[in-house]
Symmetry: C2
Subunit: 106 residues, 2 copies
Amino acid sequence: METWMAQPDLDEIDVATVLQALADPMRLRIVRLLAEVEESTCTALDLPVKVSTVSHHVNVLRHSGLVSTRIDGTARPSRLRRDDLERRFPGLLSSILTATPPRLPR
Amino acid sequence: METWMAQPDLDEIDVATVLQALADPMRLRIVRLLAEVEESTCTALDLPVKVSTVSHHVNVLRHSGLVSTRIDGTARPSRLRRDDLERRFPGLLSSILTATPPRLPR
DNA sequence: CGGAAATTACGACGTACATCGTAATAGAGC
DNA sequence: GCTCTATTACGATGTACGTCGTAATTTCCG
């Protein structure tokens, strides 16, 4: 049986909270990574910050409703709530993930 | 003839910058107001902060590509770049504007 | 049981930034 | 020209938070 960490229900997800979560560059990077690997733990994510910081970011992402986290022994693999987000805010997450990089300058 | 303040081109708009702009509650509120009134100046917006602060926020919104500002005498009426944003990030702005308020608690 | 690994809880530190007050600038109208 | 209004430029201030280091907790495994 699979156990999951506490997370907001679909209709509890606040768009302002989601935007605040996505506003941080490192968290946006985590979201993009999770969109590729489908599931990953904090230590497995290859990021230029300490694991305790990654853990903090993933917590923020889960509380905002962006990711769901499974309990697997001592590991806590997380995955993007793509379908949930698509239902709650159609087009939001997908347009962020498929966005073209900005043209120079800036 | 209409003059406009400098703003990023469509393909110069960065999704990360847009998200950072929308992350602030007051700026999100401004975006929602502009979505209703179609065009407004800083002083016309009824907000619980000083006008200099509103001006700052509108500048951030313009630099991020969310609003365009027209020069009309001493006034600087701004409007949402809805069509531009829809073309650049389909579904992003619209899903934010039409989002249902979150169910309690939180 | 003992040790290693994953995660998190906690406190501390820097810094980015939202906000304000004031002053400077610019246009409109008398 | 003078005044009024709208906007912004600038500096100051307080606070939120991203990051780190360390310790505590939990689980797995030999």
